[in-house]
Each structure stands twice: as C-alpha cells, then as structure tokens.
C-alpha cells in the first residue's frame, strides 16, 4: 500500500481538517523521497481513526505521542508507522487532534495498541491531558515529589517555569 492510498482511505472515511504528505529526501542517492503523512482529525473520531489504521495493517507500530500547548489549544500527535519490515516501504503517519486546554481529555488506545500505555501515561503527566479509560494512571517520568498541577510541556502558568533552577546561580531559598 502506498502513502497516497493510505491518505485516500482516511479521506474517504473521515472528515480531515488537515491532510498532507511531506516528501522528505534524506538519502545519499536522492532517487526517491520518503513520504510522511500528517492528518488532523476531530477528537470524537480519533479512536476510530486509530481503529482504521489497525484495519489497514494488522498491528501498526506505535512510535510515540508528542504534544504541545498553543494558546487555549492542546495539540496531540500520535506517530504510527505502517508496512514495517518491507524494504523501503515503511510509511510514517502522524495523527493529530486538537483539544481544549480547560477540559482536555482523550480516549485511551491501549485496547487497540497495548504498547501505547507508556506514551499515554506520559502525556497525562506532561500535558495534563486526561486519558479516559487508561489502565494505569500513575505518574511515570516525573519525580515522586514533583509538584502537582505543574505540566512540563505546557507554556502557560501551569508550565514548569516557576520551579526551574539555574545551577550557575545560588541556591533558591
């Protein structure tokens, strides 16, 4: 399956807010480019979209979920790859979804991709996004005595700026 076909199958089934293929050329021989698919989908359809990926490929490889906050919006990107194991045939796809900052929540996809648990725990503690139905909601990367309601990936008042220490300056008392 080609990248264009993957994108077309998504376009057919979902209402995509953004859909593009970046052709990246980072090869010595410059014969062919590597396609990267980026799509944006509404929060309600997000889980269905991951389900759609699982229909395209029996077990899509989940790389990681990244995210950031811009203004009142939190944007999550789930990075998957299909067709791994086929020489020069792997397709990377980033599924984006936008959430409102005040009430950010996203359904868990661990039912479809069990390996997503670590990423879901991470976005929960790093961005303050509630993952609905997550099998294990404890903290993962942040230290145990890390203050609550501080989310390191955010850039607003809940971001980590107030607890930052500069080692070159004296001890904060």
């Amino acid at each position: 399956m080609k990248a264009e076909q993957v994108l077309a199958s998504f376009k057919k089934r979902f209402k995509l807010k953004e859909a593009r293929i970046d052709n990246v050329m980072h090869r010595a021989n410059r014969k062919s480019a590597v396609p990267r698919i980026w799509i944006e989908i509404g929060r309600e359809e997000f889980k269905e979209a991951v389900g759609h990926l699982c229909e395209l490929h029996p077990m899509p490889h989940f790389a990681v979920a990244s995210g950031y906050q811009i203004g009142e919006i939190i944007e999550l990107i789930y990075h998957f790859s299909l067709n791994y194991g086929k020489p020069q045939g792997e397709i990377c796809i980033g599924i984006k979804t936008k959430l409102e900052k005040g009430n950010a929540s996203i359904p868990t996809i661990t039912g479809l991709v069990p390996g997503a648990l670590i990423s879901e725990r991470e976005i929960q503690e790093m961005l303050g996004v509630k993952v609905e139905g997550i099998p294990d909601s404890r903290r993962l990367f942040l230290p145990k005595n890390f203050p609550k309601k501080v989310y390191p990936w955010r850039r607003d008042e809940t971001g980590p700026n107030k607890i930052v220490r500069n080692m070159h300056k004296g001890e904060k008392k």
């Binding site: 230290p143 145990k144 980590p160 930052v164 220490r165 500069n166 080692m167």
Partner: protein
C-alpha cells in the same frame, strides 16, 4: 581521622545520579584490560558499605538526591568522593532545568573533581591518585 583503614588499595562504589552513561562506561573502561586499575587492587564493589571512594557521575536528578545522601551515609568513614564529568561539576548543558538539583557538591562533600565530558579513563585514574594523595596528606596531619 583514622586512616589506618585505608592502608590497602581503595575500593570504589559507583553511583550514577542521572548521567548520560558516557562517564559510566569510561569508569568501567578504566577497570578493564586496556587501563586495568584492578592490577593495583582498585575495584568496584557492589555496596557502599564496602567502599572507600564514591565515584559520582551525573547532575543529580530530583529523585536521586535522597538516594545519594543515603548511599553517602552508608559508606564507612574515612571516605572520599570523586565527582566525574562536567554535568555534576557545573551542570554543563543541563545547567538550567526543572528536575535537577545539582551541582553534586551542594548535596554531599566532594574531594576530587574530574572534569570532562566524558573524562578519559586516564583522567579518572589520575583522579584516583589525587584522592590517594589527599588522604595521605590528611593522615600525616
């Protein structure tokens, strides 16, 4: 300080407080055949209770602070601490962070600093010699 306990080779305990692994593999490299400090009887031990020197690497992450203090307390006196690598000394590229509590000498007393990112095994061995000289000097007092 009673330094009679140190009239044999120094035994070291390695504590990684959040380093990138670079210093840690150079410490092991100092022990293995090319540099081979074990021929002097210097070796890594598995518990701080058997150790004379603490080889400390890393900029000390928040969660490791308490563990570092505990490990230091468990070491029998007389003891010395060797801080290996730039990030424990000054923070290096991690100087500004929300989850690091270094530099390490604010948490436990440090005797010898070995800068470098990572320091070569020769520098680490040189640091051990410095520890030795320092302890000898103190013993004479």
């Amino acid at each position: 300080m009673n330094l009679k306990a140190l009239n044999k080779s120094l035994w070291a305990f390695h504590f990684n407080s959040g380093s990138c692994n670079g210093c840690d593999i150079e410490i092991i490299a100092a022990l293995t055949p090319r540099y081979d400090v074990e021929r002097f009887g210097i070796k890594l031990v598995g518990t701080p209770r058997h150790a004379d020197i603490l080889l400390l690497t890393g900029p000390v992450a928040m969660d490791m602070k308490e563990k570092l203090e505990r490990v230091y307390a468990q070491m029998p006196s007389p003891k010395a601490v060797m801080l290996i690598g730039n990030c424990g000394n000054s923070g290096d590229v991690f100087y500004e962070s929300y989850s690091l509590v270094g530099p390490a000498d604010r948490i436990i007393p440090v005797d010898v600093y070995v800068p470098g990112c990572p320091p070569r095994p020769e520098a680490i061995i040189h640091g051990v010699v410095k520890v030795w000289q320092k302890l000898e000097k103190e013993a004479k007092k």
